[in-house]
């Protein structure tokens, strides 16, 4: 003991006298908005948004210039089919957003000084993780929402407001959000495991896009249903709008030889996505909780 505290509680330096306890829920909200404020000012957010806008805009511009004949030529006679076809690429944007916003969400604490700022605050790490996860989900959903908006504009242009399957469109958007949750769970897990932020982003893209797609194609070629693949599950985003949905398609590739292509049903897809969240999110929390600031 060195000496008793002289005159508590007001400090000589004029500090505040009292603080109230903050619940985990409130700290989660604080962490979410803190992370959102960061994301909305990053180049990667505007870069990805610009990429989505550019790609979607060019697609629409091409379709608008060629007219309805072009849309019908590609055998898309209904708004459902049109939207289903358009939304096939949603998975790519979700994976990119998950990698950009989740791939370094946790590793940043152990590779830069960010951890020495945030991890010394009286916030439990799982709460911090949950806040960042929520923020990353919102930002990813915003990117996906913009992509859906362009698709909807195209559908309205060609088919009119009356014929748009709004309920199915919202359902598809809901599935896209669940897919984002699953992709972000994987990205957060990678981020909790690696130390380098850029490695986290790269590994996430490689795993979710290249890895799963390659694995899926290989398994299908070998005649197995890739039921555990997240990219396979992601097909449900478009499948929900597909009026001619086929779960298993056999494409002839030679005499008595077929290449089987599986498409996840909506329930199957959502179940796979939920399983990814259930496995990878708690795993991220455990890894993040145990990770040490050795740098």
């Amino acid at each position: 003991m060195i000496q008793p505290r002289a005159a508590p509680p007001v400090a000589d330096s004029g500090g505040v006298a009292a603080r109230r306890r903050v619940s985990d829920l409130e700290q989660w909200r604080i962490a979410t908005f803190h992370q959102l404020g960061h994301y909305f000012r990053t180049n990667r957010f505007y870069g990805l948004l610009g990429f989505v806008v550019l790609l979607s805009g060019l697609t629409l511009a091409f379709e608008f210039s060629t007219g309805i004949a072009r849309v019908q030529f590609t055998q898309l006679y209904s708004p459902s089919e049109y939207l289903s076809n358009y939304l096939v690429d949603t998975g790519l944007f979700v994976v990119l957003a998950a990698a950009f916003f989740g791939g370094d969400a946790l590793s940043v604490d152990f590779s830069t000084g960010a951890g020495y700022y945030m991890l010394v605050l009286p916030i439990r790490r799982p709460v911090l993780l949950a806040g960042r996860y929520a923020a990353a989900t919102l930002v990813t959903a915003a990117i996906v929402g913009v992509y859906y908006l362009f698709g909807t504009v195209g559908a309205v242009y060609f088919f009119g407001t009356q014929r748009i399957p709004w309920e199915l469109l919202v359902e598809s958007l809901g599935i896209a959000v669940v897919f984002s949750l699953a992709a972000l769970s994987v990205a957060f897990c990678v981020s909790a495991f690696v130390r380098s932020p850029s490695a986290g982003v790269l590994i996430t893209i490689l795993a979710l896009y290249v890895g799963f797609t390659t694995l899926q194609a290989t398994l299908e070629l070998a005649g197995f249903e890739p039921w555990f693949s997240l990219s396979y599950a992601g097909g449900a985003m478009a499948a929900v709008l597909d009026t001619d949905f086929i779960h298993l398609q056999a494409v002839p590739i030679g005499e008595d030889q077929y290449y089987n292509i599986w498409s996840a049903t909506v329930s199957e897809g959502v179940a796979i996505m939920a399983a990814y969240v259930a496995v990878f999110l708690p795993l991220s929390a455990v890894l993040y909780q145990r990770k040490e600031s050795t740098g």
Binding site: I2, S13, R19, I30, R41, L119, L121, T294
Partner: protein, 309 residues
Amino acid sequence: MGSFEVSGLSKSFRTGPPALSDLSFRYEGAGAIGYLGPNGAGKTTTLKLLVGLLRPSRGHAFVNEIDPMIDRKGALWDVGALIETPEPYPTLNVQEALDVVGRARGLSRDDIDREVDRCHELLDLPPLDLRIGWLSKGQRQRVALAATLMGDPSVLLLDEPTSGLDPAERVLVRRLLNRLKRDHLVFMSSHQMFEVTEVCDQLVFLNQGRILLKDRVDRVSDRIRALQVDVEFERPVAAEATAALRTIATDVVAISERRWRISFDGSDQNRVRLLELCQGIGPVAQFSNTSLVLEEAYLELLSKSASEA
């Protein structure tokens, strides 16, 4: 009243020797404790263990009686920690970077504004609307210090708090710490001996993960000085003549032909015996504790520890 304690604390990493070995100390109340040691002594590791950024290999660390490994939120509730180089997100501005700390520590909007004003005044913060990414290293360090002080936590754990600051900023921070230590418990690591003697009441010397000495600042130099005596003979003395001293002394070094510095265990009994032996060699003009200043004492302690190792 704040407190912190380490009990039998050890930390080893995958490679290299143990970073900390069986460290134990406890401080409570108000005041400033200086944590001194060369690079790699284990100072930052200790601070990281206190705030739960590292897991102990053995033993425990407690802040305000709570183990951060068990209850991080509870342990850090009344603690401000400045460790390594904290960096808020570069995209946020100074106000936002401080807001998140204030809100996480349970301050109301009004209190946050008041605290930001107080820190602005104490630390001469950069403009609040300036983005962190645009700040100089010194400005960032002052923002990090302000974040440490937000909410006026009773325990302040500071890892080289003046690192990256210019001389004027260092003076500012030292003055601030001298004010804070009156009603806060400040634990600061430093390489700057003068900084520690200017701010701290107590010292903990650390080397190679072990405590070499801990005591009040004024007593530390006395204790170290007591381990050595300077003898001045009236006439020059040959080295062979001092051989008798080595029965007690751990080291005998010639400063000049007449002046010799003798290291020993510091006990009163051996001090008397040494004087008798010196008088046996020749007439003694002066026999006194060395005039080491704290910095020399610190270096002496380190070299002694290295030779023992």
